[in-house]
Amino acid sequence: MQEPIAEQPQLESLAVPPRKDERRELLALLIGVAGWAVPGLGHALQKMWGRGLAVFLAVGALVTLGAGMRGNLFTSRGDDAFATLGYFADLGSGCFYAVARAFETAGPDVSHSTGDYGTRFLATAGVLNLLAALHAYEAARGRKA
């Protein structure tokens, strides 16, 4: 008779944490997506102001410089695997990709090395932002960040 009574609190204590974990996981996922959509927002939502600002400025500077150097901003209509990979890398910039696309009227010029470097700047901005979004996601999950 004593065994079921002893087991009851254990079951209750086991039932509560997974629900909290699920909520936390969902919140972390939302923070990660927010961090991707707006560079630095994932950290800002967790009151990591310095990191959020650093990510926003770094990604913004890389996109501005890359576009200013007339780097190639890839589209979804890539001809080969490299163009598709470049598109995914560029897309990592989140809203900055859309902004760069909206303001880019002169088009890329990769006939000079400057334009080629600009392409790398744009791709790096995307990859850096993805890294930052992943960092924000891990921090929201409670991992050491």
Binding site: R51, A58, M69, T105, S113, T114, R120, F121, T124
Partner: protein, 65 residues
Amino acid sequence: MLLSLISVPLTHLQSMLLFALIISLAFGTLGRRRPADRLTYAAWSFFLFILVGVTIGWLMYPFSR
């Protein structure tokens, strides 16, 4: 329209330095917590970026002509 007005004529070295600086600062801020650690990490990262860049440049030099 706006970005088309911004022209950034950088040399190879300037591009590399600027790239290394921006990424190093971001790495330092993301990778460490304390300001002193961040600065050290960013400086070390910047140094390695430049070192690797210059080394690869020299390694490719014989094949450039």
